[in-house]
C-alpha cells in the first residue's frame, strides 16, 4: 500500500492528518494528540516540522497557526541510571 509517512515512529500518514483536520483538529497540539505524531521514539525530531508545514498549507499558507507543540525534557533517550544519583545529591543538599 502506498503511504506518505509524516511520522515514521508512529506511522502517521498524510491521510491521517487530512482526516484529523477535517474532523476539526486545526492547531498543531490538537493534531498531535489526535494522530499521535511526535509521540514516538524520536519525540518529534523527524515529524514536527513536517506537520507544521502541512497544517500551514492546509490553512492557505498561514504560518501563524503552527505554534510549536510543548517540548519537554529529556531531549534524547537516556537510561534512568543517569539520574539515579540525583536523589541522593538533592537529599544531601537539603540537609
Amino acid at each position: 500500500m502506498g503511504r506518505t509517512i509524516v511520522c515514521r515512529c508512529e506511522d502517521v500518514t498524510v491521510e491521517d492528518l487530512n482526516q484529523a483536520f477535517s474532523e476539526g483538529y486545526r492547531d498543531l497540539e490538537s493534531l498531535k494528540r489526535y494522530t499521535g505524531f511526535s509521540t514516538g521514539f524520536c519525540q518529534g525530531k523527524c515529524c514536527t516540522a513536517h506537520a507544521a508545514r502541512f497544517l500551514s498549507a492546509l490553512k492557505g499558507g498561514d504560518d501563524t497557526v503552527a505554534d510549536p507543540i510543548r517540548t519537554r525534557p529529556l531531549l534524547h533517550p537516556t537510561p534512568a541510571s543517569h539520574f539515579a544519583r540525583a536523589v541522593e545529591l538533592l537529599d544531601e543538599e537539603s540537609k
Binding site: R3, R8, E15, H50
Partner: protein, 477 residues
C-alpha cells in the same frame, strides 16, 4: 542479501576505524570494524531491514545516522532500543532486531499494511463493548511496543558532576566552536557540549569544502586557549530557567548538572525525508546521512544512487560521490545554474531538471523512483536506483531553547527558528542562539553568527571596550 561496498578511506578522515572484528547478528557471525557504528557495519554486511514500524509493520532502516531518528533501533547485548548508528561495533556483540513476527525480515503482520486500505483508523476500533475493548487492548499491547525488557545486568548508577560555569555552549558545529572560542578568548570559562563523538557538525561533511582541515584548525585553536572544557558524546538533555540556568547533560560515564550564567544554543538541524509516497522505504537517506556513510565511514550502502535536491551542499555531495567512484543514477534538481551544478555537468552526471520525486517503489528496499514534472502530479519518468538521497526543508533543533522559554517562530520556509536579535540574543536575556537554529543557511554564516553571539554573550557577562569594538565592527561588516 546484497552487501554494501566498502571504499578506501581518504586521507585525513576523522572517522577512523579499527581492526576487523566479528559480531553476532541473529545467530549469524558478521564482520565489521572495531569502533565504526554498528548500523554502518550492519549495512556493509548487507542487512537491509533494521526493524518494522509500529502500526503497519513497514520495513525500517537507518535514515539520519546522527542519532535523531528511530530507524536503526535494535536490541544490543540484551538491551532494547539501542540506536545502532551511535553505538560502536565491538568484537562479540550480540545484535538482534526487535520488531516483527516471526522476524523483522519476514513479518507476518505486514498484512496489516497491505489490507487496511488508505488508512487504518484506530480511534473507533473495538469500542462497541467494554469486554472487546479490553481484549483488543491486550492484543494491541502484545503486537506493538518497542522491544522486550532487558536481560542484561542492570546498569550501575552514573555519578553526577555538579558545577558552575560562566557559560555553556551546546553543540560543537561551526557556530558552537566559534562561539566557545570567542567566549574563552574574552576570558570566560566555557563548557562546550557535543552530542556526537566528533566535533565539527557540518564541517565533518564531505560536501563541506575543506571541512576536515577547518576542524583541525579549530582543534588547535581551541586547545591553545585556556578555559574551554569540551565534552563529546554528551548531549544536552534539558535546560531549566531560573536565577542561573540549569543545564543537564550526560554521557555513558557521567551526568552533568551545570549552573550557567549564560547559555549559547547551537544545536543545528535534524535530518528529514520530504513527503512523497513510500518516503519511508529503506534505501532513502537524507543528504547528511549519505554524506556521513560514504565520505565519513567509507561504506556505499547500495548503487546506483539518485540525488534529489537544490542546495549547494546537496549538489556538492553528488559531486563528491562521483569523485569517490560511486555509481550515480543522476541528480534531480530544479536548479539551472550555480558552480555546484556546472561542476556536476562537467563530471558527466546526468541531470534531471524541472522534476520532483513523487513515489518510491520497492519491497524491503528501494528499487526505483517515479519522477514527475514540477507542475504535474502524473509521473512521467521511472529511474532505477538502489539508494536515494533526498533533501528536505530544514527542521531546526529548537527544543532546548524552547524548554528554557525562548520564543521560537515558525515559517514554512525555515521551520521553527529560535528568535534572536542582531546580536544573537534570544527573548530570554541570558540565552543566545547561533547557527542553523537562528537562521544561518551555510557553514560560514553559522560560524559568523557563532562569533557574534560569543562576543555579545561575553559583553553581557562583563563590559569590555575591546569586545564591544569587535562586536560593532562585525555588525557593520
Amino acid at each position: 542479501m546484497a552487501q554494501g561496498r566498502r571504499i578506501k578511506s581518504p586521507e585525513g578522515n576523522p572517522f577512523e576505524r579499527g581492526k576487523q572484528v566479528r559480531f553476532q547478528f541473529e545467530g549469524r557471525s558478521l564482520q565489521g570494524y572495531d569502533h565504526e557504528p554498528l548500523a554502518v557495519a550492519l549495512m556493509a554486511a548487507g542487512v537491509r531491514v533494521f526493524g518494522r514500524s509500529l502500526k503497519y509493520h513497514r520495513p525500517r532502516g537507518p535514515v539520519c545516522l546522527h542519532g535523531h531518528c528511530s530507524g536503526c533501533l535494535m536490541r544490543v547485548n540484551g538491551v532494547a532500543n539501542i540506536r545502532t548508528c551511535e553505538t560502536p561495533c565491538r568484537s562479540g556483540m550480540v545484535v538482534e532486531r526487535q520488531t516483527g513476527w516471526p522476524s523483522a525480515g519476514l513479518d507476518f503482520f505486514r498484512a496489516v499494511d497491505l489490507l487496511s486500505g488508505e488508512r487504518l483508523d484506530h480511534h473507533g476500533m473495538f469500542t462497541a463493548s467494554s469486554v472487546l475493548n479490553r481484549i483488543a487492548g491486550y492484543v494491541v499491547r502484545k503486537l506493538s511496543g518497542l522491544g522486550a525488557p532487558p536481560t542484561a545486568d542492570p546498569q550501575t548508577p552514573v555519578p553526577i558532576s555538579r558545577f558552575s560555569s560562566d557559560a555553556v555552549v551546546i553543540g560543537a558545529g561551526a557556530a558552537g566552536l566559534s562561539a566557545a572560542k570567542t567566549l574563552s578568548g574574552c576570558g570566560h570559562n566555557v563548557v562546550l557540549l557535543e552530542a556526537e563523538e566528533h566535533r565539527g557538525g557540518r564541517l565533518l561533511d564531505g560536501a563541506t569544502q575543506n571541512g576536515w582541515e577547518r576542524i583541525r584548525d579549530f582543534k588547535e585553536e581551541i586547545e591553545s586557549v585556556a578555559g574551554i572544557e569540551i565534552h563529546v558524546k554528551t548531549p544536552a538533555l534539558a535546560v531549566y530557567p531560573g536565577d542561573t540556568l540549569q543545564v543537564v547533560a550526560g554521557n555513558e560515564g557521567k551526568t552533568f548538572w551545570i549552573s550557567a550564567r549564560r547559555l549559547i544554543v547551537c544545536t543545528g538541524t535534524y535530518e528529514q525525508i520530504p513527503l512523497f509516497e513510500n518516503n519511508d522505504l529503506p534505501g532513502i537517506f537524507g543528504p547528511r546521512a549519505m554524506d556521513r556513510l560514504v565520505c565519513g565511514y567509507s561504506v556505499v550502502p547500495a548503487e546506483p544512487v539518485l540525488v534529489v535536491g537544490e542546495r549547494d551542499a546537496t549538489l556538492r555531495l553528488a559531486g563528491r560521490l562521483r569523485e569517490l567512484n560511486v555509481t550515480l543514477a543522476g541528480v534531480v534538481t530544479t536548479r539551472t545554474e550555480g558552480d555546484a551544478l556546472t561542476s556536476l555537468k562537467r563530471k558527466n552526471v546526468e541531470i534531471f531538471q524541472d522534476r520532483r520525486i513523487v513515489r518510491a517503489l520497492g519491497g524491503k528496499w528501494l528499487d526505483r523512483v517515479e519522477l514527475a514534472h514540477r507542475s504535474s502530479e502524473q509521473s512521467d519518468l521511472v529511474l532505477d536506483c538502489r539508494a536515494c538521497v533526498v533533501e528536505a526543508p530544514p527542521a531546526p533543533a529548537y527544543e532546548l531553547a524552547h524548554h528554557a522559554g525562548c520564543r521560537v517562530s515558525f515559517s514554512s520556509q525555515s521551520g521553527y527558528l529560535v528568535q534572536v536579535n542582531d546580536e544573537g540574543q534570544t527573548t530570554h536575556g541570558q540565552i543566545f542562539a547561533a547557527g542553523h537554529i537562528a537562521g544561518s543557511d551555510s557553514v560560514d554564516a553559522a560560524a559568523q553568527s557563532g562569533e557574534r553571539a560569543g562576543l555579545a554573550c561575553a559583553l553581557s557577562l562583563k563590559d569590555d571596550a575591546q569586545v564591544r569594538r569587535r562586536l560593532e565592527s562585525m555588525q557593520k561588516g
